[in-house]
Symmetry: C2
Subunit: 599 residues, 2 copies
């Protein structure tokens, strides 16, 4: 390892071609925390070359890679270097149908891509559906669960399972091509993978093609909570096969189908632990998480993100500050206060949020009333386990006027007294987050402190323009033409020169804890940001492509609403009407590219 | 909840004084993800007031509080407000003796304090030892495990256990005083708490005094891995009671004592899950972690940190860049390159690291040879499960010259050929991390790319002095006397004015991912930082007090080495000798305050 190592070309490699013994010298997977037990692990693939010769590839450390914030010879842009296979990650999904695998997969991929780690989902079911080379190939159990002929997916039906395995292998190979040859950093293998045999096949194939260094994480979603499982299954009932069926009959039918796959299902656990394989098992989405031998920066990042999952219904609002003095003069950066129109905007905003918040509460109570177990026709959709089911009236405690109101006053029912509508209903808290800049703080000045929790966060500050702070774009184009051109060429990767100068990658990095917090919390929140901040936040929630982020059209006066749902995120946009001092929804709103590409 | 709510003074409170029923309206703990099951949870304490009247305290959201980066009316400094009991955290440790509880406790408290969240450990055993009011009170099982009279700690000995419970309660009350009355944010209750009865007592007392909002996290350390457990126990054998005993006899003795506590031990799990109580169970330090109903920002932070624990032996080196041109002229900030003396420093550094790295490898191989199971007298201490035990010679594979070296060459043994010394030994990778500033990058220029993995990180950049960049301190004192005085008054909380201007709290915040990464990785690392960065890094590893951080004496030319050990962190310091171009250890080195308090 040190400079004076004698040349022993070939010897050490040859040494490792001897049959593997059961002794501790058997190859250890990188990052294993404990010595490998006696007996060769089944899924390690080809033995690891040891570092005893100068010309054998050495084990490279895999440490944090943050695009824009880290840099090395092999990775000048901070992305994971193609060479560093050991820093890349394959995530293998595991789980029975209706356990929310695809939901988790999509969300995780969105997060990792937003962090600028190239991530792609490889879905076995989708490949099969579009497969032309293998005609009449049966679908994944997951798809089939929605169809009539469930016997075809019985594990005892060997012919069908052989064909399925072939398609799974092809999908996996596509994933490995992406990781090994096409610059991908994370590949997610989305299929049920609920049998040990399938998982062994997957590991063997990965080790065969990628060697021992590539990190593999098994990620399972399990449901122990019967209500959650029922809610998940009911979500499936909104699919084409069941939509017009009596939901009670449909649910029974669907449950029968799942039973078929349960026959050969082995949850993650004993086998993986015995073989030192990293895994994460999410139980009841965010209730309980088991993390086993997490290693590598990306795996730790994914784990942290998954730990903060929840499905609580709530709203996330995003807007920019009201019109500021610098907005009028066209200067970038700075810390000017609101212009009169901006103050007007701030007033409308507080009022409109009051209204929307109340509207949401009313809708929530209504939805809760529409949720039954077992489901009934016409039930609120999509179902959500957080909609607490209404209990039968007989079991509900009614306030007893004699004991509970000693002064003789009874609770009066009014339109705004939510507890009178449903005494079990606890309205959510509502957070208002601003940056630490005046124009943002002032935009939140009319929110009632008793009803809203206002907080300032430096992470939400506008992109720092370094030496260009206080200039107009036309100034920059004449005084700093080279910088102007460089920014125009690649705004996402451009960083303003001078102390404190930032670029979009810096904004992503400092918004990362904010995003994780938004995922973690269960309250409503309004973020009063700035152009770059609003762009980066929307890019996360809308899963925008990398090249779209820095050019997004996010004008002053727009208010965006994101509502996480079991199937994704509902998105609405409202435009402020200055004269009416009110917001109006923009129908069928879609984010688009800004017309002025310098903004 | 909305402005027009009718006044129903007292009614809603009175309503909640009715006997609690078994129906779903029973109080839910804040942040519970799922409806409380039928039957009142045992440990919820007084029922939660509902939000049905305007004068009942409403549930406040607990979102991220980052000192220096967040701000609100109730928390102008970003610390957790005294009012926000729901944002505070009590951590209750659980675990049998010799499971590393105190190690985890100390490390976690060090991390949280470093993040500026006031954290304190309340150790039941320590209190008992110093207890004057209750003379002759027996010790905690944990202490007793080291003593002779183990029958005294038998759970069947009711009198002793009553006295022990009393001291536990007093310690807990002290913790609650700290959280509720003395501004503390996190209190850690360090005791075995291995029985259900004890844990119920703890929860009841917390709910009784703090109400339902205060977050409580149970944190257990379990050892399933026999080698790790044995290593932990052997660490105890270095204590005063066993030091001079035959280690084999001592170990047997210690094991017998632990058996006593196992009688009434109930690990975290079923009971806590049934009662919706958040917990984290660490199994085999970092191998496997179960996180249950983690809620609140602080709990999520603690969870993330604990997930990245490992005990791998390795070295963490910290130094500042070599002398730069700006150092000579006394200018702060900027991006000047190294002066000739700085280049000389860079050369010495690369050579010295080569030497120290090799020395460490040799020591490691030697330690591994000295580790036996069962332990033998004279074994290397402290034991570490990462020191792979040497297998009996008979089971060790020896390279067979006939099959492994087809060219007839045998492996030659040389002083530097580590694989010849121990063919199982894989030397660790070595990372060199610099900032993105020239003087730091240049200081790492002589490290061999084949042997060291060099990476630049923006997180390691020097504190940005905003508008003061490029000035000398004497300039600042004359041109900006108010700023000069403000910084002198409170350097830790001072932030330089102007775009990008930073303070020490910003440095802590941007080094947080670096610290977590240092805890996560198992390789050696050298960090080539700057004054503020080195101060903040050392503050973390040395657990410095808040007021010490910003005034630490960290001159150019010093090199610090931190080596995590099972009992803490070994700390050494080396001083560069310019003429000899080499580093020499400073005996009994202690960090001290800088003489010039403006630096």
């Amino acid at each position: 390892m040190h400079g004076t190592l004698p040349e022993v070309t070939g010897v050490s490699i040859a040494m490792n071609d001897t049959p593997t013994t059961t002794a501790p010298s058997s190859p250890r997977m990188k990052g294993d925390y404990f010595p490998v037990e006696e007996g060769k692990p089944l899924t390690l693939g080809p033995p690891r070359r040891q570092n005893s010769g100068t010309n054998t590839p050495r084990v490279r450390p895999t440490t944090l890679d943050i695009p824009g914030l880290t840099k090395s010879k092999v990775s000048p842009d901070g992305r994971i270097a193609q060479r560093d296979v050991g820093a890349k990650l394959v995530i293998v999904m595991v789980g029975l149908p209706a356990r929310g695998k695809s939901y988790i997969t999509k969300k995780l991929a969105r997060y990792l891509n937003w962090l600028q780690h190239d991530t792609k989902i490889f879905n076995v079911g989708e490949r099969r559906r579009h497969e032309k080379a293998v005609p009449n190939v049966p679908k994944e159990p997951e798809d089939e669960a929605m169809e009539q002929n469930s016997s075809f997916f019985d594990p005892d039906n060997t012919k069908a399972s052989q064909i399925r395995e072939q398609v799974a292998r092809e999908t996996l190979d596509e994933l490995l091509d992406y990781i090994l040859n096409k610059g991908g950093s994370v590949g997610i293998f989305d299929a049920t993978n609920s049998t040990l045999d399938r998982r062994k096949m997957v590991m063997d194939r990965i080790r065969e093609r990628a060697g021992p260094d590539l990190n593999v994480l098994f990620l399972e979603s399990r449901c122990v909570d019967e209500n959650l499982l029922e809610a998940n299954m009911r979500l499936k009932l909104n699919g084409p096969d069941y939509r017009d069926m009596d939901p009670v009959v449909a649910l029974e039918d669907f449950k029968k189908r799942i039973k078929v796959y349960e026959k050969a299902y082995v949850p993650l656990g004993d086998y993986e632990e015995k073989n030192h394989m990293p895994y994460i098992q999410m139980i009841d989405v965010g209730r309980k998480i088991i993390s086993h031998q997490i290693k590598g920066f990306l795996m730790a990042q994914a784990n942290y993100y998954l730990l903060n999952f929840n499905l609580a219904p709530r709203q996330i609002w995003i807007t920019r500050h009201g019109l500021s003095h610098d907005n009028i003069s066209g200067k970038i950066g700075g810390d000017s206060d609101l212009a009169p129109e901006g103050v007007q905007y701030a007033k409308s905003l507080a009022k409109f949020m009051d209204e929307k918040r109340h509207e949401w509460d009313m809708k929530q109570i209504e939805d809760m009333r529409k949720t039954h177990f077992p489901p009934q026709p016409g039930d609120a959709t999509p179902p959500n386990p957080y909609y607490r089911p209404q209990s039968p009236t007989a079991e509900r405690p009614r306030p007893n006027a004699n004991t509970s109101a000693p002064n003789g006053t009874s609770t009066t029912s009014s339109a705004t007294d939510l507890s009178a509508l449903d005494e079990d209903y606890t309205p959510k808290a509502f957070c208002v987050w601003t940056s630490m800049l005046k124009r943002s703080i002032s935009t939140a000045q009319f929110f009632n402190d008793e009803e809203y929790d206002t907080k300032q966060m430096r992470m939400l500050d506008e992109l720092n323009a370094g030496v260009m702070e206080g200039l107009t774009y036309s100034c920059i184009s004449t005084q700093h033409p080279t910088e102007y051109a460089a920014r125009k060429r690649d705004k996402l990767h451009y960083r303003y020169p001078g102390p404190g100068g930032e670029g979009y990658l810096d904004i992503i990095n400092r918004l990362r804890p904010v995003i994780v917090e938004l995922e973690r919390m269960t309250d409503h929140v309004l973020l009063v940001g700035h152009r770059s901040v609003a762009r980066v936040l929307l890019a996360y929630f809308r899963g925008l492509k990398r090249e779209e982020v820095a050019d997004l059209d996010v004008p002053i006066g727009m208010l965006y609403c994101l509502e996480p749902k079991p199937y994704g995120v509902d998105f609405k946009a409202y435009r402020w009407h200055k004269e009416k001092e009110w917001f109006y929804e923009v129908p069928n709103f879609e984010l688009k590219r800004a017309e002025d590409d310098m903004l």
